[in-house]
Amino acid sequence: MAQSLFEKVWNAHAVRQLGNGQTQLLIGTHLIHEVTSPQAFGMLRDRGLAVKYPERTFATVDHIVPTNEMTEPYSDALAQGMIEELRKNCADNKIKFFDTNTGQQGIVHIVGPEQGITQPGTTIACGDSHTSTHGAFGAIAFGIGTSQVRDVLATQTIALNRLKVRRINVNGKLRPGVYSKDVILHIIRLLGTKGGTGFAYEYGGSTFDNMTMEERMTVCNMSIEGGARAGYVNPDATTFEYLKGRPYSPQGAAWDEAVERWKSMASDPDCEYDDVVEINAAEIEPTVTWGITPGQGVGINENIPAADEGETQSERDSIAEALEHMQFAGGSPVKGKKIDVAFLGSCTNGRLSDLKEVAQYIQGRKVADGVQAIVVPGSQVVSQIAVELGLDKIYKDAGFEWRGAGCSMCLAMNPDKLIGDQLCASSSNRNFKGRQGSPTGRTMLMSPLMVAAAAITGEVCDAREVFGVGAAVTV
């Protein structure tokens, strides 16, 4: 019978049914970091349990690392304690750790793919909700809690309910200046922040066929913002081309076998889905969030809704709460909102292609007076290649601060934080109240090029107009 990739991967990794009806699911690859793993190692020690598959476990440090003063000991003693705890746990349990001195450290969802650890047809878990990123490779990847990190360390499995699969077809060509970030913000706007509950999202259609791996990762990354615990794209030639020759990719004869196996894991053409959604790529605008959930987004030329535009009382309450926090008037244009900070980075948009795309437009431009603009490469590898290409110089000349690799201001567990009610144009993934480190701080999510345009003009604007995208410049 025809099957989706999700079903094939699930069936290949299902160990058995548990007493409560859940499935004991084998996790092929376990990624860990400093924030959600220390308690799990503690629980293992308390129970006298060993790590079952240390060779299938990979660690990096990302959430708490400073991006400017990176010499240890860190000024924040708690952060220093966390990196040391991870170092010790990895050493004690013989787990590969991409530490800060390896040249390979970075955000866990950027390190996995760039090292070739993330592979099609596999299951991946990590104590971080953006683990859905790895689905870009045709893996089924789950964000898990710390007790489940413990479960994976001790048993290499988790207890899980099987997900339904929603196929999201996006067909056609994205217009110039519209990026994969806009695609996922558009999808979340359409389907809502809880629309994906109980589903894995399978993204397909010609728009996805034509995307690079890094673009696919941006979309899969934010599946969780739409409530879907996992999101994936079927593996194809683009996937294999990306993985070939990476440090942990299969080599020689094993490579050819792996590619054949990976091809066979893709969804069968006539498989059935629990739901199908169709989206026309040409209708997607550069999208910006105006509120406090990722679903509260509008096209750059639209107005922010007024509270009375909500269809239900709870929607009206949500809009009112968001407008109050954001200090925006209902019905006002999203364009023209004055920003204080521009953040380019995160597991959503901190990859080399993001930094390259923006760099070609900002040469000869300057960040607006009074705006702090920071660029945080997603990994040391991204940073190193960017420096070799001279991108750091382009950013610095334009007035951006060029930082070290990490999660940084996406969630502000390191010193990079908004102050007071600063408004930030951000290429990250969450605009929750307080997300960027200040309880009254305000976040507007958008594509990297839209962040750069806001940095340069000092306000939220249409990057296509600022940079003449689609006219003089070839994308």
């Binding site: 924030v35 349990l49 592979q119 048993t155 290499q156 922040t193 709870s314």
Partner: protein
């Protein structure tokens, strides 16, 4: 070692209004710089409860009438956002035993259930009836009957729902799955042996 079965949860309630209460709201990231979960209860809903100067804001969670509550009543998509178990850990460590919401985000739901924090859903209309009753009488005893899908308060009840796996685990005291997962070790090895990438 199975935990104590959880057949019902009883206590007083507190209403935390709003949909999409995300895990950053439940426990802001700055309080996750820790290597144990001890003490997290103190920071539950910190920015909802406190001003930037650390003073109490007017909120049900600060209202003396609702002190001692052990059941949170809230909106839809409760616990959305990050996978941080710090969120249900802080709820549990602040003395809460259950959350009644319109719906829950998936990862939060699983994390909570693993800790024995009971998460049940009820309709908007029913939650409003319950929240109004709690507002009228903060000392109102609420009883969530896990087996029976009912939330009793005073002489009335509303129906509630929970995922089948969660219900069965709570009733059997097997909501922490580690022991059962460990028992499957041999089958885990067999499954792994069939996967080239795991046996290479």
């Amino acid at each position: 070692m199975p935990s104590e079965p959880i057949k019902q949860v009883a206590g007083t309630g507190v209403y935390v209004p709003g949909d999409d209460i995300d895990t950053d709201r439940i426990i802001p990231a700055r309080f996750m710089k820790c290597i144990t979960f001890d003490g997290l209860g103190e920071y539950l809903f910190y920015d909802v409860r406190k001003t930037e100067q650390g003073e109490d804001k007017p909120h049900n969670l600060n209202d003396p009438r609702f002190q001692g509550a052990s059941i949170i009543i809230s909106g839809s998509n409760f616990g959305c956002g990050s996978s941080r178990e710090h969120a249900p850990q802080s709820i549990m460590r602040a003395g809460f035993k259950a959350v009644i919401a319109g719906s829950f985000a998936e990862i939060f739901y699983g994390n909570s259930t693993n800790l024995g924090v009971v998460c049940v859903t009820a309709t908007d209309a029913d939650r409003k009836v319950l929240a109004d009753a709690v507002e009228m009488n903060p000392q109102l005893e609420i009883t969530i009957d896990v087996n029976d899908h009912k939330i009793w308060f005073g002489d009335q009840y509303i129906t509630c729902d929970m995922r089948p796996g969660a219900r069965s685990s709570l009733l059997k005291g097997t909501y922490d799955p580690l022991d059962e997962l460990l028992e499957g070790a041999e089958q885990v090895n067999e499954t792994a042996a069939k996967l080239p990438y795991m046996s290479a």
